[in-house]
Each structure stands twice: as C-alpha cells, then as structure tokens.
Symmetry: C2
DNA sequence: GCATAGATAGACAGACCTGTCTTACTACCG
DNA sequence: CGGTAGTAAGACAGGTCTGTCTATCTATGC
C-alpha cells in the first residue's frame, strides 16, 4: 500500500508550499497554486493550516529543522572549532551550487514581511539567531564569550552576504571569498590551529 | 509660486512610491495606494510610467543615485583607502539608526523578484555591483587587483549581513561587529596604516 | 452494516490587483 | 482668444487573492 496516510498529507502540503515559496516568493504564491500543485482539496489545506500565515510559519520551521539536523550530523565528523566552522561553510558552498538554489528563504521572508511583530518575520529571525548561536558556541571553545559573540556575528554576516552574491550569479566567488574572509577573522582572534 | 511643475510630479511619484515600497514591500504596495498617497490621478502615474515594473525600476535607480552621490561627497573628506572604507561603514551605521530604517530596498527587490531576467532584479543587482566596484577601486590603491576584488567582495558581504542584522533589531552590534571584522580583514591583507 | 472523520471538487463572497478609458478641468503659449 | 498638453476623478474590465461553505465520496473502527 503506497496510499498516503493522513499525517503524510500535512507534510506533503508543507513540502509543496516550500518548493513554491522558494521559487516564486511568499506573496507571489497563491493558495490555489499550492493546493493544485499538491493535488489536495482546499478544505484539506485549511483544515491543517487555519491561514496562509500559519502555513508559511510551518514551512519555515520545517526548513529550519532540516537545516539544523543536517548541521548536527555533519558536526559529528569535526573535532576542532575551525573544522566545525569550515563544515558550515562547506554546507553553504554545496548549497550555492545545488540545482534549485534560489537564495535564503528566511532572508526572503524577512524582506517580504517587514513588521517585526509578524509571525513570519519572527520565524525567519529565529533561524538566523539559531545559526549565530550555533557558531558562537563553537567559538567559545577557543575564545572568551564576548569575542565569540562578535566573531559569530561577523561569520553570520559573511554567510548572509555570500548567499546574496551567490544569488546574483557568482556562487564560486561568493563561497571562496567568504571562506577566505572568515579564516582571516578567525586568525586575527582566537589564534587558530 | 509654490505650484508644482510638471516634471516635479514625476519625482513626487517616485519619492512617494519609494517610501511605500520601503515600508510595505513591492508586491504589497498597490498602484491605488501610491496614487492616493501621492495625491495624483491614475492616468498621471501611467503617463510617466507605463507599468508598475517601470516605476519600481525607476525608484531603485533614484535611490541608487542618491546613495552614490552621498558617498561621492563623503569620499572627498577622506585621504587613505582605510578612511574611505571607514566612511562607507560610517554611512551604514548612521543609516541603521535612522528613524525610518527598513532594511535594504535592493536586497528586498532581489528577494521579491527571483528571476534574474526581471528588470527589477537587474536594477537591484546593479546597485550591489556598483558598491562592490567602488570599494574595489578604493582597495586597488593598496593591494593587487585580485586581492582587491576578493576583499571588496568580503566587505560587501559584511555590509549586507550587517544590514540584515540591523533589520532584526540590533543596529549597534551589527555595525560594530561588521566594522571590527572589516578591519581584521584589511589588516590581514593590505597592511593598513 | 453503519457511523464518523477526513478528503474532494468547486461554487462563492468580498476584497484587491493592474491597466484602460472617458469626461471635464486647468494652465500655459502664441 | 484659441489651441494644446497635462491633470483630475473615477468608472470599468478582467483577473487574482484569501477564506468559507456545501455536497458528495471514501475509508476506517466498532
């Protein structure tokens, strides 16, 4: 039996919406398009998600969870803080070159929903803060807390900026220059290696 | 006579649209809202701009021109490359703290218009490339061309990332950490001062 | 067998979108 | 004074948006 179960539907809707939001943007993707592409009735969607806002928040949470899990798994293979940071940049490098790279969904969400009180804004900001926290905790093995904080902020900026440049058509240069700058910053602080 | 002349109307529409796009986003701002806020007839708007796309492109060009002129003027007061780069970061620091800071309009345009062939995407990408070129030419006074290129890319990334962080509510930390990182990168390359 | 819960297809409301068109008004120039 | 070009105000078309509702079908548990 390959019939989808009930809870599968919910996930299927999320994944379909994710693909569309990524490609077309949030405002530009209508509910009708989502249910058509997911091959699902409108009421089914509205049963699982009371509003489009709820769906968007869940899509962002779904995507953030997958990202976190991937980094968790990759982190096991690294020993030193430098390696752990390097692995994150590796992930971004591969992502930039993936077939359906369309930029950072969270950055796009922040761009489309300017109100900091909006749930979509908050869901997107959460992912950025989580990534920064992840890097800060890695760096705290090597440097005092305040330096780890400002260094992780700098690394996050490089990553965000690199994603934008990759978006503009230079994925190779973007990841190379970002990594180079990151290493220079780390060298200037924690005295790596 | 304080009556607006004909060409003033065009500029007034652009400035009104700019304020709305900045606050609400491109898709979320309707033509009706623009003409109401600008207190202008619909046909007047469509006479000056054949379509909303044209208006958006002009708004981006207007904003980019103002930005470039401000930097040109500020650049006169600086002597060394480090000072010139510092002045750019100063500008961003002030911008982050300005009353109606709503993030980077060009980054938002790139986010909302994913198609690289779309005129709005291209107008936005142009501004990013122009800023990078400006910094690269500054850096070429101090380092070989290839290093100036990758360094300017890194500085642009820091600026973009800092703008995002400022957007998320930490303008002080954003500009401070970005500047700190920029100085570390410059110190690692061109041997400043 | 039968009740219940979920899914389907699609009509529908009410609002909003871009862009066109009409009619009347105003200001300037010769 | 007369002609012209720009503007105002708003109706309008045709489409899209989110969200609600109904009526029918299907599958599962008891």
């Amino acid at each position: 039996m390959t019939e989808p179960t009930r809870t599968d539907k919910r996930r299927h809707i999320v994944e379909t919406a994710y693909a569309l939001f990524k490609r077309l943007g949030f405002h530009a993707t209508g509910i009708d398009r989502i249910i058509a592409e997911a091959d699902v009735a409108k009421m089914t969607m509205y049963r699982h998600f009371p509003s489009k806002d709820d769906l968007m928040v869940e899509v962002l949470a779904y995507r953030a969870g997958r990202f976190e899990r991937q980094l968790d798994r990759l982190a096991e293979q690294a020993a030193t803080p430098e390696q752990k940071i390097g692995i994150i940049f590796d992930w971004y490098g591969r992502w930039f070159h993936s077939a359906d790279f369309h930029g950072c969904l969270f950055a796009h969400a922040l761009a489309e929903f300017g109100d900091p009180a909006h749930p979509v804004f908050q869901a997107a900001a959460r992912q950025k803060n989580d990534l920064k926290r992840r890097m800060r905790m890695i760096l705290e093995e090597r440097m005092p807390a305040d330096e780890a904080d400002s260094t992780s902020a700098a690394l996050l900026m490089l990553i965000e900026g690199a994603t934008l440049m990759a978006r503009m058509g230079q994925p190779d240069l973007a990841i190379r220059d970002a990594r180079k700058a990151a290493m220079a910053i780390l060298a200037a602080r924690g005295r790596p290696q």
